[in-house]
Symmetry: none
Subunit: 418 residues, 2 copies
């Protein structure tokens, strides 16, 4: 089965945004064992969009379109696909109701007329509810081909793909694909690859691929077979072998699980709590933890102490320590972590202090220099990092490595005590 | 002049990497006033690549290809483009020399045979030196059309584009483009469009387009002309007219400026400071503020008070208020904002308390219910919001509307006092 991707949007052709949707959908299709030979980006122009859709319907089995489902005049995707497939546009009663509900008690006073356009769908199509926006998606079929229309904003598109499109593609492709995602932290991609290179080279089914994320490496092991059982039989020994190699770096084998979730689960199991004391990250570490539903059991509060005075006032860092070692130092993050733990009565405390840039760097303490402190059960470990990239990138890496530090600390103690 | 972009690489079709090259080149072309109607991503397959190149050469004046210039067997770009243009491949003596130099004193012992393939170029083309890698780029022309071949790795492609391709395209296009990005908050996309629909419909040059972001709407006005002066003459009256319509919702006309930067600038100008007191956002508002370089002048600290006890202990929220009105209430965010301002000695304080879900909602207080408080100069305004979407989406919208509240508060006081 061949899938072709069409990203609709002048903002992509103008370079206003990066096409992360294409990467996400390509990765998903690869994971489902579906071939993608072409991706096209096209603007809000009716003739060129129509040409692109017709060409794609000729050479591919499924065309997947993102964008152009909104309320404005240049949202043309539905009309164009309908015409290319010889189908009509009709107003979908359920989507009308959903739009009404969306606006009820909402923040905008009136529903402008053009909003109802979003309830228009291709006749006979399977309408996909949008739980994170107004425009529904849809799947239209004709002569064994299918057109899948999805909204452009990633936070609307991704949940819709997961809930409706993935199962649809799975069934249509008729092949069972099973994959396991093995997530590691505290290790680089090339180091990971070196550790398992012989396995990667040897395997055809399952295939083994590595993906580098900020501060994490994900290893995907994918097997295709005629049945679920057969796919798992192929998968299991390879996963076991890789698990042994990756050892202490592996934090989960669950696709959807994040590092912060693993940390939250471990703390919850032990009946312990965590507190954060952040300088350059300015709340990003706490925000990652609060991503986890039900975090209230382990996270009660966090401190953002950006100014030196705030570090002293809120966390009890001594002015003398700042004067003597500088605010970006092992000593200061140690006092921050210990102060935060004391103040919040928490079992584990994470602290960071660094120079995120673009200004503030010196020869001795350059932009990208960050100290991360982690206090747990009476012990504090402080580490020095030198991150590359712009302000945002330095802060993201700091956040990731702080969470990694918490995870390591929790699991070192696991080794010792269990 | 129409440019078409062809990104060559199976790793793009597999979703292993995000196509940031396409965004970069699209943005560059838009800045040069060159139209890009289509972008294609294609794999390392000779027939499909040849098809794509032939189609592109028919409908576009310039085709720009990235990737597939390397030494391995699946690097097919040069041979394919040469064939489509009816040209030969020849070995370039200068590039041979440069490859030799590259390896001298390097980390690899021997130059493997396939490396010389990188010195092959399309006959009669302008060869572009690669100062950050081995494979040179090239520009081949025929019958008024041009094919520009660039290496795939961004750190090789971008400097080569800047040095050689940009001046080439500038000269070839002979056209100037100017655009203004007008950013609004506190208003929806369809409402914005309704406010300026007659202008959008009337305009051909400049064109007017709206883009929806979380809690923001951006309006881009773009004019093309023979000279910079002429482009600005076309742009100015339309921008002025839209500015008048958007009025109080418009927070900046600068492309790169964010809402948090505008807030930071206004506070800095007044010599005032801001503090945050966050519950469900868990640090996201502070993290947005700390995105701004030089924020230390206005942001000293922030409080993440996720648990009720933390709200009382850190911010002085009264237990009685929580008991009487519930923790997600106008009264509690008011006490949070006022307590945070007092505690930090700040002029402006933002506070949020809400139910981000997926659990914790009731009929009276459903998931998505959020109160945002904003204290400034002795006055606190608390507003109720009901956001849609998953946990992350509710928190992102809360963050955006909290910043919007701060911006409104600062500008209301501007109206009164200035």
């Amino acid at each position: 089965m061949i899938v072709e991707l069409i990203s609709v949007g002048t903002e992509l052709l103008m370079g206003n945004i990066v096409n992360t949707n294409a990467q996400y959908l390509a990765e998903q299709c690869a994971g489902l064992g579906i071939s993608m030979y072409t991706q096209v980006v096209i603007g809000d122009n009716p003739e060129r969009l129509a040409d692109t859709v017709r060409t794609a319907l000729l050479r591919s089995d499924v065309i997947m379109l993102t964008g152009g489902l909104g309320p404005t005049e240049d949202d043309l995707t539905k009309a164009t696909v309908a015409e290319a497939m010889g189908k009509k546009i009709v107003r979908d009663a359920r989507s009308v109701e959903r739009i009404k509900q969306y606006f009820e008690g909402g923040i905008y006073r009136a529903i402008t007329e053009n909003n109802w356009k979003q309830a228009d769908v291709i006749e006979g199509s399977l309408v996909l509810d949008n739980n994170n926006g107004l425009a529904p998606g849809m799947i239209a079929e004709k002569d064994g081909k299918a057109a899948i229309l999805l909204p452009g904003p990633p936070h609307e598109m991704i949940p819709m793909f997961e809930e409706f499109v993935k199962p649809y593609l799975k069934e249509k492709s008729g092949r069972v694909i099973r994959s396991v995602m093995m997530k590691c932290c505290g290790i680089g991609e090339s180091q990971t690859e070196t550790m398992i290179l012989d396995i990667i080279d040897r395997q055809e089914n399952p295939t083994v691929a590595t993906y580098a994320k900020t501060g994490e490496v994900h290893v995907r092991v994918t097997a295709g077979a005629g049945s679920e059982k057969e796919a798992e039989r192929l998968l299991d020994p390879v996963v076991a072998q890789i698990r042994e190699r990756l050892g202490e770096y592996l934090f989960t084998c669950e696709e959807k699980k994040t590092l912060e979730e693993v940390i939250a689960e471990q703390l919850l199991k032990r009946g312990e709590t965590i507190v954060t004391a952040e300088s350059c990250t300015g709340g990003m570490i706490a925000a990652r933890l609060v991503n986890v539903p039900g975090i209230s059991g382990v996270f009660k509060e966090g401190f953002i102490t950006y100014a030196n005075e705030a570090k002293c006032k809120e966390l009890g860092v001594r002015e003398k320590t700042i004067r003597q070692f500088g605010v970006v130092s092992s000593e200061v993050v140690t006092e921050m972590a210990e102060g935060a733990a004391r103040r919040a009565g928490a079992d584990l405390a994470l602290s960071v202090s660094g120079i995120a840039g673009p200004d503030g760097g010196t020869e001795e303490k350059p932009v990208g220099l960050v100290y991360i402190g982690c206090y747990y059960h009476g012990t504090t470990v402080a580490r020095r990092y030198l991150f590359k990239g712009n302000r945002q990138k330095v802060r993201e890496q700091t956040t990731q490595y702080a969470l990694t530090a918490a995870w390591r600390m929790l699991n070192d103690s696991l080794d010792r005590s269990e």
